[in-house]
Amino acid sequence: MHQLLPYIPAFPILGFLVLSLFGRKLSKPVIATIGAGTVCLSALITIILGFSFLQTEPPGGVYDQLLWSWFSVGNLSVDIDLRVDALTLVFIFIITFVGALIHIYSAFFMWHDGDYARFFASMNLFVCSMLLLVMADNLVLMYLGWEGVGLCSYLLIGFWYEVPSNCRAANKAFLITRIGDTALLIGLFLLFKEVGTLNISGILHQAPDQFATGSSNIVLITILLLAGGMGKSAQLPLQTWLPDAMAGPSPVSALIHAATMVTAGVYLIARMHVLFQLSPVTMVIIAIIGALTLFVAGCSALAQTDIKRILAYSTISQIGYMFLALGVGAWSAAIFHFFTHAFFKALLFLAAGVVIEALHHEHNIFMMGGLRKRMPVVFITFLAGAAALSALPLVSAGFFSKDAILWYSFSAANGNPLLWLMALAGAFITALYTTRLMLVVFWGETRTPVHRQPGQGMVIPLVVLAFLSVTAGFIEWPHNMLHLTLFSAHVQKVLPETLLKTTLPSESLFQLIAALVTLAGVFLGYILYYGKPGIRWQQSPALAGIREFLFGGWKFDQLYNFLFVKPFVFITRINKSDVIDKMYNGIAQAGLRLNSWFSVSQNGSLRLYIVGVLAGILFIITLQLLL
């Protein structure tokens, strides 16, 4: 089966090459066929691969395919080596399968766009890079994919580059993730220096012998890796780019900024879990960052009015959950949440894309309303996604994964009631803003007429994703309900089992609390927003201030503006005339000045020179005489 591995990323890259080279000459149906078809083929291969993996497990639980040696310098040898184990399988399944659905969707969504080929070329390149990222057997190749997805993200955020704000958003995303990427790169260098290899399996095998638990080296390395993950996954200090990244087309937001790329950080940490386990400090940091992020981003989502920004903040928040799970050591729960989140968040974005398209590119949810009757299919699918997002008990996939995270944040060995409370608050807020979103958009009176209904090609992916959003959770049940743990059994071939505390309260109680909190959130949202959306918020000035604060994403942008941009601009302004250069220029100018003085004396008059010599002699003899 492992012979099939190269074809998974090969098809998208083929599509990318064809589209980018000949894209202008091809007709739109051909472009759509190539763009979506290649990814669909990849998805097909992945599914075949997955089945064979699940039926007869390969030796060592790994499909490994060495393609060729990339370069070999000294004791560093980097191969193009693809490797699929249980963890990677989950990721490539999501990437190709959700990717294929989104490609089909965008084939119709982008139909009227002028740059059809460029869009699909970028999307295909993205899929390929993302696949490389997760399938790479060594960190260099992974970094290639890592940078590749960053590039595609930049290209696609700035897809409509005629609008300056889109370009700014693209730049912002690129620059902020670059901070993380740089940290990641330094981390990789350090890792290579310490371990002497960049092969993932090699590192994972050698690391426990190489590093003492909690030694400063491993802490430094893991923190750097974490910083890389934080940049990509939009976690707390570096999260500001993601809401702006919604400037791209909706399918891009769905694929890159919800389902796949932003979870690269989660993948990285899960992949390097051996290292992270050696550094408890970093684990705690991850958990805290995750908890803070999910809370902060959730609050911001409450105040947004742009439908895509709400979803963006909710994405940040949900990735915060994943980080929290990773931080407390609930590896499989994190991956499981990634799994379900990919479905429902892609669904939500695609549905939002349909809504926006139908309403003449109207992003403001308060200009929507009453869509329940007029776009029933979208309504139902959106409802499925929203239910999963807010983790409605039992009927949604999100419940199972989020509940697992909530449970582990309390019960796992490094879990903490405080983390649990944060996560619980996050769950409440999530339910609240999801309800708000649903009520404002789909209930109430019509504010913008529906411009056109989505076509079949856009509806089918929605329906498939909605189906999965509801059912994907059923493959993993909480321990106390049903002994069906397909997912964690699968993932735990690679990832260690979650360590639990020895004495635990009843899990059922916690599930009940979580479910009640979620329902309370929904209920509160219902009270607040049913009928007269958004009115109460504007009435009181204090609340309006809070709302303003949250609307700006806790003013992180302003904070960074103040902390980094302003000083830089200030320094630049000071340095406009180049302080350092001034010194050198000064030397040069002094030289020139002296030159101009002395060259007056070099007038070619021989006698003047002799007078100079004479004066010198006279001076010396006079000195001799006087002293």
Binding site: R607, V611, L614, L618, I621, Q624, L625
Partner: protein, 182 residues
């Protein structure tokens, strides 16, 4: 008198007188060999060389006239004053030194020759190099005269080319005399 003449030939005659008198001083200082050399080389060869050049450049009355114009008091006053100061200072230096009387002793050529080819052999060799360089340099500079090597030459060459070509042998013969004299 040398430096104040306007006519180069006059100046050269005075120069010869000066050289001869310096030669007499040498004789009185007990250096007969050097005195002889002074007369032969300076008063002989070098003066002849100058005269050849003056002849070839055809420096005649108009040159003297020109010199007269150039030699205005304001031209020579300042340098002369400076040099006078220098002179005064040097004389003061001379007479502030120790004042032991000196006996003039004749240094015979034999002693001179021993010293020259004994301890100063390297310097003699170097002088040989210098003279060789002088020969080659003079020959080279003289040789290029007939080729139009400079834009200034373009309009002014022709009638004096013959004279130029005869120029090179003279320094050579001169150097040889110097060498022979030594």
């Amino acid at each position: 008198m040398v430096i104040t003449r306007f006519h180069p030939v006059h100046a050269l005659l005075y120069l010869a007188v000066s050289f001869l008198s310096v030669g007499m001083i040498f004789l009185s200082l007990g250096a007969p060999f050097v005195a002889a050399l002074e007369v032969i080389v300076y008063a002989g060869a070098i003066i002849v060389l100058f005269i050849f050049v003056v002849m070839m450049l055809n420096l005649g009355r108009e040159t003297a006239h020109q010199e007269k114009e150039w030699l205005k008091p304001k031209v020579w006053l300042l340098p002369s004053a400076l040099v006078l100061v220098l002179l005064a200072e040097m004389i003061i230096l001379l007479f502030t030194d120790s004042k032991q009387p000196m006996q003039v002793a004749v240094v015979d050529p034999r002693k001179l020759a021993l010293s020259l080819y004994g301890e100063y052999i390297i310097a003699v060799e170097l002088t040989g190099f210098l003279l060789m360089a002088g020969i080659v340099g003079a020959a080279h500079i003289g040789k290029h005269m007939h080729t139009p090597m400079h834009r200034f030459l373009q309009n002014g060459h022709g009638e004096k080319e013959k004279a130029k070509q005869t120029r090179p042998p003279e320094p050579v013969s001169n150097e040889q005399t110097v060498l022979h004299d030594r």
